[in-house]
């Protein structure tokens, strides 16, 4: 299922605001805890230890999943929009994440995350 809408402006709070305080849009790798509210990205890896990583992946934060940060801070809220290439975007799931976990989830900042909730 192609969920992206090409041409739509990226990330941030609706005004092209940076996805990452440190690296900005287009940067290679950003920790989820550094993504501002409204920013989206594709999960690259969950480097939070074996057990916590397995749990996060089981909750849908798998490499390739598209996520959007609905609330930044400690704890933050992340909407998992696409689980992998073909999974359902509707509804999806929202996860409240402690900073301890969010700082180990790395995402590739992404534009046109599209159909997910406009946080």
């Amino acid at each position: 299922m192609a969920m992206d809408r090409p041409g739509r402006e990226v990330v941030g709070d609706g005004g092209g605001e940076g996805l990452s305080r440190a690296l900005g849009v287009g940067a290679g790798r950003v920790a989820l805890c550094d993504v501002l509210a409204g920013g989206a990205g594709v999960v690259l890896e969950t480097a939070v230890g074996e057990q916590d990583g397995a749990m996060l992946r089981a909750m849908g934060l798998v490499p390739g999943a598209t996520v959007r940060v609905c609330r930044a801070g400690e704890p933050c809220i992340v909407a998992v929009l696409h689980t992998g290439a073909s999974a359902c975007a509707c509804g999806g799931s929202r996860i409240g994440l402690a900073r301890r976990l969010a700082r180990g989830v790395y995402v590739q900042p992404r534009g046109g995350a599209g159909d997910g909730p406009a946080c």
Binding site: L56, T83, A87, G96, L97, A98
Partner: protein, 673 residues
């Protein structure tokens, strides 16, 4: 592990007359429990999986003439995780759980609106090689979001029957039951075995999803509404405010609504008590039934409406999706004390009664955090403490206004009430912190909390939960408090002391005077005999023997009787003190209650000068009753829920120690007189 087969394989199956057992497996928030309730109705029982604090619900479902035995396994995101929920699922499915035979079949419940992720768990389930049916739940919601799931295609890829269902509306549930019975009886295992490694399983789930599901561009309006609601409800400040309002309304509603049925229950017990007294001849049997059994059971059952309402409303809130947001917000408040946001509702519930509070800790995923919450829940001011507070704060305020120390007694009384609640909360959270730093040390499970979508709650489910919890309360607390009431009654009633000379003289006097005066004299004689009987009873003797133990917190032998009696249930303190000092419980009559209160306030100790309820003693008793563990039913429930008597012993010892120490310090600060 068996490799993929091409055709259904028989795994034994179940004989026609036998009842097949089916384990329900699913991610949290898939509506698995709603489905279980839909399938079993009230025909279920709740216990714990052996050696764990996880709830095990088993129940029976009818399929025509046949029956299915259902086991509701804890919701797990993956069967392979090193978490108690996943371990229990693995143990039960593998036949390694104590007291649970290998199930004859498995029902994997998937959330249609989150099918991509849910299919991972389905894959893990299929690898178990049990006769399996997959139920795709919330199909009505998914349709509304434009998602189409093709059951036949999904069934082909999973190699087992797939039924599209809605546990909420009942759609597909009958077909599901039929399919479950079929596969369990025939012992048909799935024809597909998905890959065992995480990456392979993920690829498999994606492929299955792409093959069997389509559409689902998403309901943008729904997403926007969810965002708006979350913006407020999870906001650091607004979220807390909303939380305070929701909880405030809920508890105000509970106390207000419950007061009506509580009144009826009290009326029924008073009526039964009066009836028994009239029907039965005076004697030990009558006293046992009225003062022991009825009084004890009545004192417990009266809290039932509060408990039923509490669980009904909590269940409704949970179903709406709000409770997860509340836990998210409360996490910030409780984390500094080593407790998770999930602890908030149990601790709040404990302000009605610690028993439902301890039962409500089942929603706390981490074992250590759950144990810490159970240990400190009884510090919260429960309804049973209120009569004691009313008496002691009344005496303190009366003393203060008599000495001219305060000009607004009502305000001071109110502040003291608030202070008692605050002291209980402070003692609770600090004790939790201490426990988390010592005996329950260990890293907290960092928050990874799914916030389910908002939806209309299921009243039916909430009713079933309320019924379930109420039954547990009655069974566990009712039986324990009944036994304790009978023992207490016996200790207080035996050995029978004969009438005193003073009372005999009064009665002789009454025989020669006429009218009302005679009645007054006889009543006085009865009170003198009641006091004497209490003082000469085993309880009275124990009170005198134990007086030195409680002297450091300001108690004389009479107060010691009250304290000892209330170790089983603190609400008996006021009644016991009334009988010990005034020779009567006070009754319903306001004038009589006032007389008893005045007698309590003016009662003196053995030295004939010092008040029983001296200023210092009132303060120390108040602190003692805020902090002390005086509720046997709660200890029973703690032992069961925490998985060992040692936790109940620890709870009792710690709270008693803190209460005793606190009361001593307060007595020293205020002064003994």
């Amino acid at each position: 592990m068996t490799e993929p087969g091409t055709e259904s394989q028989r795994a034994g199956g179940v004989a026609d007359g036998d009842v097949p057992s089916i384990a329900l497996v699913g991610n949290p928030n898939t509506g698995k429990t709603t489905l279980f309730n839909r399938l079993t109705g009230l025909r279920h029982k709740t216990s714990n999986f052996a050696g764990t604090t996880l709830e095990a619900r088993t129940g029976r479902a009818s399929v025509g003439e046949a029956r299915l035995e259902l086991i509701d396994l804890p919701g797990a995101y993956s069967l392979e995780l090193e978490q108690p929920e996943a371990r229990v699922c693995r143990d039960v499915l593998g036949g390694e759980a104590r007291g649970v035979p290998v199930p004859d079949g498995m029902l994997v419940v998937l959330d249609a609106t989150n099918l991509g992720r849910n299919l991972m768990l389905a894959g893990e389930g299929l690898r178990r090689r049990l006769p399996t049916v997959v139920g795709v739940n919330m199909i009505d919601l998914a349709r509304r979001q434009g998602l189409h799931v093709d059951a036949a295609k999904l069934s082909a890829r999973l190699g087992c029957p797939v039924v599209l269902i809605s546990a909420r509306t009942g759609e597909g549930v009958e077909e599901l039951k039929g399919r479950l019975l079929e596969v369990a009886r025939a012992g048909v295992v799935p024809t597909q075995t998905p890959p065992g490694d995480e990456v392979g399983l993920r690829a498999w789930a994606e492929e299955v999803y792409a093959f069997a599901a389509s559409g689902g561009a998403g309901d943008e309006r729904l997403a926007r509404n969810t965002d708006r609601a979350d913006m407020v409800l999870t906001h650091p400040v607004l979220g807390l405010l909303a939380f305070a309002v929701v909880m405030g309304l809920m508890f105000a509603g509970i106390f207000w609504l419950a007061s009506f049925p509580m009144g009826w229950i009290e009326g029924i017990f008073a009526f039964a008590n009066g009836g028994l007294r009239e029907v039965l001849p005076a004697g030990a049997v009558r006293d046992l039934l009225t003062d022991g059994v009825l009084a004890g059971v009545g004192a417990t059952v009266v809290f039932l409406p509060q408990i039923a309402l509490l669980f009904f409303l909590i269940s409704l809130l949970e179903d709406t999706g709000y409770l997860a947001r509340a836990a998210f917000v409360a996490d910030r408040l409780l984390r500094p004390f080593g407790l998770p946001g999930h602890s908030f509702v149990p601790l709040l519930s404990s302000h009605a009664c610690a028993i439902p509070g301890v039962l409500a800790t089942r929603t706390i995923p981490d074992r250590r955090e759950r144990l810490a919450t159970i240990l400190v829940a009884p510090f919260m001011t429960c309804s049973a403490r209120l009569p004691v507070y009313v008496l002691l704060i009344g005496l303190i305020v009366a003393g203060l206004s008599k000495s001219g120390a305060v000009s607004h007694p009502a305000l001071v009384g109110g502040l003291l009430f608030v202070g008692c609640y605050a002291l209980g909360i402070a003692a609770g959270v600090l004790s939790a912190l201490l426990a988390r730093r010592t005996i329950l040390r260990g890293a907290a499970r960092p928050m990874a909390l799914e916030l389910p979508s908002y939806k209309l709650p299921s009243v039916r489910g909430a009713l079933i939960t309320a019924y379930d919890r109420s039954l547990m309360f009655i069974k566990k607390a009712g039986t324990a408090i009944l036994a304790v009431s009978v023992v207490l009654w016996w200790l207080g009633a035996f050995p029978h002391a004969g009438p005193t000379a003073e009372a005999q003289a009064l009665r002789a006097q009454a025989a020669v005077v006429a009218g009302e005066d005679a009645g007054v004299l006889v009543a006085r004689a009865d009170r003198i005999d009641a006091r004497h009987a209490k003082s000469e009873s085993f309880l009275g003797r124990i009170g005198r023997a134990a007086e030195p133990v409680f002297a450091p917190i300001g108690a004389d032998w009479q107060l010691t009787i009250g304290i000892l009696a209330s170790f089983a249930a603190r609400e008996v303190f006021v009644g016991t003190m009334s009988v010990v000092i005034a020779g009567a419980e006070g009754g319903d009559d306001a004038g009589e209650q006032g007389r008893v209160r005045d007698e309590l306030a003016g009662a003196v100790r053995a030295d004939g000068r010092t008040l029983v309820f001296s200023r210092g003693t009132c303060w120390s008793m108040l602190v003692f009753y805020v902090l002390a563990m005086q509720c046997l039913p709660t200890l029973v429930v703690t032992a069961r829920e925490a998985g060992g008597v040692r936790w109940a012993v620890l709870q009792f010892a710690w709270m008693s120690l803190l209460a005793y120490g606190g009361a001593m310090v307060v007595l020293w600060l205020v002064g003994g007189k």
